[in-house]
């Protein structure tokens, strides 16, 4: 306690030197906090975009193997008890929606043009297409499948209506109101076909050249499937996944958003590693500056060390005093840097966050540094402060008290 008090006063005593160290640490850590807050929100936004873009928090199938080879061969994977499971899951806390989905591969033709595509089908009330202007605010109880460029989304009661990707529409040379013919192969090689009206055209990066959407009942009817192969589950947050998975009846097959959003998981891990490297660079720079400052402080105060030791202070207490001073500087810089970072984040958020454009939509990213960013920044700052002061501290006790007292 005595050493801590002395160290604290000494930190305030060397104002200029303390300021030099603090500036390096404050600027570095404030930048780190803002950057970390931005990246976290960015990756979370991306994660949520993937989840709500058709991945779902959780997908539940009635038979094992569906997720390996049944996605576009749903005939062999009927989910017989899907209604009961859906009702049970809907009662779990945090569950926003449970709904069936299916899909199939088809050949689309219009006049002289044709192309293959993947059809995904959901209940109409679970499909959301954003308007093509303004700030995107996607609902969390349905899939956000893209931005509507023309026409309408599929409405409840619509049958044989298709919302087609813009690139596919361009290939087929179709527009809203045109009728395309879809053909698919049923089990046993039987060919089925039907006309679909283009109800809307959507854009979505890397989706609109491959996908078309229709309503779930039309898809069941078209593919002659009687039972849904899979249930999609949307939750109020990724933190709910494990508890909902734990509530699943035995024997069902499932996969979570993490299994599906593999690119997100990889990029998130890359970003985390990147942040760690930046944090280490900041801390190493601080360590070098602080070690240099503490070295000068120790040399300037040689006579003080001699006096303290003459009065009976032990070497280990002198060392502890110097290390405390370094640690306090680290702590002070850490606290101020983090506070500044949170302040900058608040100002950015008050001004509407950081924005970027996706197609014609504006995506808003708020900067939300988490509480964990306090710990991951402040603890290393304190440790680095102590480590930087350790060797100068050894220098303070290396000489005899008389040698220290002789230093001018």
């Amino acid at each position: 306690m005595r050493n801590l008090l002395l160290a604290f006063r000494n930190v305030l005593r060397h104002k200029r030197k303390t300021l030099a160290v603090l500036l390096a640490l404050i600027v570095g850590l404030a930048g780190m906090v803002v950057f970390q807050g931005f990246l976290t929100e960015m990756t979370h936004a991306w994660r949520d975009q993937s989840i709500l873009g058709g991945v779902g928090h959780l997908q539940v199938a009635g038979k094992s193997g569906y997720f390996e080879d049944g996605e576009f061969n749903p005939y062999d994977y009927p989910f017989l008890q899907s209604s009961q499971v859906a009702a049970q899951l809907a009662r779990e806390p945090g569950v926003m929606a449970v709904f069936p989905s299916t899909g199939f591969v088809a050949m689309a033709g219009y006049g002289e043009e044709s192309t293959s595509l993947l059809i995904k089908a959901y209940p109409p009330e679970r499909m959301f297409f954003a308007p093509n202007k303004g700030v995107l605010k996607a609902p969390s109880d349905r899939f956000s499948l893209g931005t509507l460029q023309a026409g309408n989304a599929i409405r409840p009661g619509d049958r044989n209506v298709l919302v087609l990707g813009q690139t596919l529409a361009r290939v087929l040379k179709v527009g809203v109101g045109d009728t395309v013919t879809l053909m698919a192969i049923l089990p046993g090689g039987q060919l089925t076909g039907r006309d679909f009206v283009i109800g809307g055209i959507f854009t979505s990066p890397q989706q609109d050249n491959l996908f078309g959407y229709t309503d779930y009942d039309t898809a069941l009817d078209f593919t002659q499937i009687t039972q849904p192969p899979v249930l999609d589950v949307l939750l109020d947050g990724v933190g709910r996944v494990s508890s909902v998975v734990a509530s699943l009846p035995a024997g069902l097959s499932f996969r979570t958003w993490k299994d599906l959003a593999t690119t997100y998981v990889q990029v998130n891990s890359l970003m985390t590693n990147f942040l760690t490297v930046i944090r280490r660079v900041i801390l190493i720079v601080t360590l070098l500056i602080l070690a240099n400052v503490m070295n000068r402080v120790v040399v300037e105060r040689m006579r003080e060390w001699g006096t303290l030791r003459a009065m009976g202070t032990k070497k280990r207490d002198i060392l502890a005093l110097v290390v405390w001073e370094g640690s306090l500087m680290g702590a002070l810089g850490g606290v101020l840097g983090i506070a500044l970072g949170f302040g900058i984040a608040a100002v950015i958020n008050l001004r509407g966050g950081l924005q970027y454009h996706q197609a014609e939509q504006i995506i808003q990213i708020l900067v939300r540094p988490g509480l964990n960013s306090m710990l991951v920044n402040i603890i290393p700052a304190i440790l680095v402060g102590g480590a930087a002061a350790f060797f100068p501290g050894l220098r303070a006790i290396r000489l005899s008290p008389a040698e220290c007292l002789r230093v001018e």
Binding site: R13, R303, G306, M311, G312
Partner: protein
């Protein structure tokens, strides 16, 4: 038994590969309660001998016994405890800790002894009163004059009731008049505390405050005389 027993002490420094003998074969005995002045010009070895007696420096050769303890045989940590309990130091440049108040500077050696807060307050207040700084306890040492700083240093040296007080050129940073006042105070307080005072000076007028003067030149004692 002598409080201080110095026997055939040598101190040799190595400076840029050259050996410099600071103290050469000095033997000395100082009795408890004595007031001894080590006197000599700059470089005579008086401060080095004082540092060896104060256990803040080690002799290259020879024996040092302080209050019956063989200083050469004590570990660094035990030597620290020994200095804290047995000695008080007064320095030429006062050497007060700038981040501590006057009160805290005097209190510091007692903190090392884990003396209770009540007792610390009593002793420090008493000493502040005796050195004429009763109203200065909360002040920073940097806001005091040289004479006042040295009074604080005297109080700090005496607060643990040490058997031995070591003072190295205690008046060298003060003007003549203040120096005389400080020496008078130091001698008076030392006498009333019953401790042994050993101080070094090059100033004959300061040496007059001693009961015994040990003169040194080139690291050797050339004269050891008692003053009546």
């Amino acid at each position: 038994m002598a409080l201080i027993k110095v026997k055939n002490v040598h101190k040799v420094y190595t400076l840029e590969k050259a050996e410099i003998t600071a103290v050469q074969d000095v033997s000395l005995e100082i009795q408890s309660g004595e007031r001894v002045c080590l006197m000599g010009p700059s470089g005579s070895g008086k401060s080095t001998l004082l540092n060896i007696i104060g256990c803040v420096d080690q002799a290259s050769k020879g024996d040092i016994f302080i209050d019956g303890e063989d200083a050469n045989k004590l570990s660094d940590a035990r030597l620290s405890d020994f200095r804290n309990r047995t000695m008080g130091f007064i320095f030429q440049n006062f050497n007060l800790i700038p981040v501590l108040s006057v009160f805290e500077n005097i209190e510091y050696p007692l903190l090392l002894q884990h003396v209770s807060s009540k007792e610390r307050k009593k002793r420090v207040t008493d000493l502040l009163d005796k050195v004429g700084l009763a109203d200065y306890g909360k002040r920073s040492p940097e806001k005091l004059s040289g004479g006042q700083r040295q009074r604080v240093a005297i109080a700090r040296a005496l607060v643990t009731n040490p058997k031995l007080v070591i003072a190295d050129e205690p008046t060298a940073s003060l003007d003549h008049a203040t120096g005389k006042i400080i020496m008078g105070l130091m001698v008076e307080m030392n006498r009333s505390a019953g401790s042994t005072l050993v101080f070094a000076t090059h100033d004959p007028t300061v040496a007059e405050f001693a009961g015994r003067v040990v003169s040194m030149i080139d690291g050797q004692v050339i004269e050891d005389r008692s003053r009546s």
